[in-house]
Symmetry: C2
Subunit: 313 residues, 2 copies
Amino acid sequence: MSSNPSAPIQLGIVGVGKIVRDQHLPSIAANADYNLIATASRNGTVDGIQSFTTIDEMIATVPAMNAVSLCMPPQYRYEAAYKALTAGKHVFLEKPPGATLSEVHDLEALAKAKGVSLFASWHSRYAPGVEAAKDFLAATTTKNMHVIWKEDVRHWHPNQDWIWQAGGLGVFDPGINALSIVTHILPRAIFLTGATLEFPENRDAPIAADLHFKDATGVPVHAEFDWRQTGKQSWDIIVETEAGTMRLADGGAKLFVDEELKLAEPEAEYPSLYRRFAEIVKAGTSDVDLAPLRHVADAFMLGKRKFVEAFHD
Amino acid sequence: MSSNPSAPIQLGIVGVGKIVRDQHLPSIAANADYNLIATASRNGTVDGIQSFTTIDEMIATVPAMNAVSLCMPPQYRYEAAYKALTAGKHVFLEKPPGATLSEVHDLEALAKAKGVSLFASWHSRYAPGVEAAKDFLAATTTKNMHVIWKEDVRHWHPNQDWIWQAGGLGVFDPGINALSIVTHILPRAIFLTGATLEFPENRDAPIAADLHFKDATGVPVHAEFDWRQTGKQSWDIIVETEAGTMRLADGGAKLFVDEELKLAEPEAEYPSLYRRFAEIVKAGTSDVDLAPLRHVADAFMLGKRKFVEAFHD
């Protein structure tokens, strides 16, 4: 799709739900690089924006639209992305980028063939403390890492059935945010060496996971994901290094070294994601790093399964 | 590692077990491109060949060795491959190439950085009928594919505990052979849309799997893997096409169209693998297609789990 690279991106959104209202819409409205011109959703609409119930109708009716953000559950994302890319639209994928690795691989090839941009977004990588954490670890030697991602699913994902279905990833839906940070800040790649996944006996996705990784030099990384945490919630990454103990806290918002606060800034993940998407569209490139989803797939493949008590919302 | 490209490859083998004795040794002996000069294995040795118990000793003691074949269970392959590539050796990986996708990704990057060849081998792709099947499908339109891979694990994998452990893949150990053929002969990529994996209640790996895929145009592929098959064994791929029904039988050895035999040749998979490895070493390239393992990981991630009766050898 050839277009004036300095003109605003004419954007459509597919799947108008909570994350779109909370994050996407304010970020798009505040960014001069975008005009939101259409939505497609089975139920949701956005005031004042032309709305459709299917992406097919939206593509057919709004030829000026040159990019789409896909925010439906991952099990339904491939088909929409395939249609959008085939029609020559740039595509922004909410996380996780798909229900399978194979489909995202294929989308990447399709985007390349069509000369459009594909963005597999990982919002947590844009948390305020993440780049500072990466810089800190690059300048020292890591001894070990401990990732603690424990939250109350009843509070954060009330009655979201899709998240408990096969392909919905269960506790890996938040856990993949941790993995997106870990794979970004560590200087070397890590590999899973063992895992235990706990499945509620009435669900097809895990409620907890205990993961052991190491890097090529043997540095251990231990990650604990749990959705049964009431009271204090934890989204912490603690790294023992030769320069002290680094703690990236609150999902990446705050950085401590030896418990001294080094950085705390207001969260602005989605505005950063939309800046990044505009950047790759202008540059004519894609940004698809599958490492976080690959680790999740590895955990399902290599992990031991344990059945635990049924979960009811 | 610079060496005379016309000189024979000085090969070491790690993990001397059944597959090495049955397949690797005869193929290497019959190929003038190789000199087998060392083995490393906890228990096995090869008559007349210098033997070690660890790859570290073998690498340190036999500097003339410029390539290794890694034939131990996949859970132990990464560490050996990392050491061999780091030491500048070309690496042949038995299938599956690793216990995780992430580790093979990293090995691929390491091989490139070290300027040596990495071969993720898929022996079933070299079955006699596979290329003819690919040509047949390229010249017609596929309506649907049915993959039936049903064998008796007690006969083919007696008392192989590693195959039942987490990371051993269970029925996907033979099933990945089918997927390596399917992904090679189909003209378009496929993606998993749903799966059921049956785990014996006393094992960490599945004994059966039922997989549904489709390609971007909606062509369905149904795969059934089962390790509980007594009597007649099945390794068949049946494809309905506009040019008739193609059946690739006996693991790729025979090709039928509308039940008329079109091709049946003696099996020579491992000799072909070793020809291919010599070819990429001479060309200075790697051959790492992770599509079969990616589909397996996708099946574990997307699949529903079902517990079935305990399995005892």
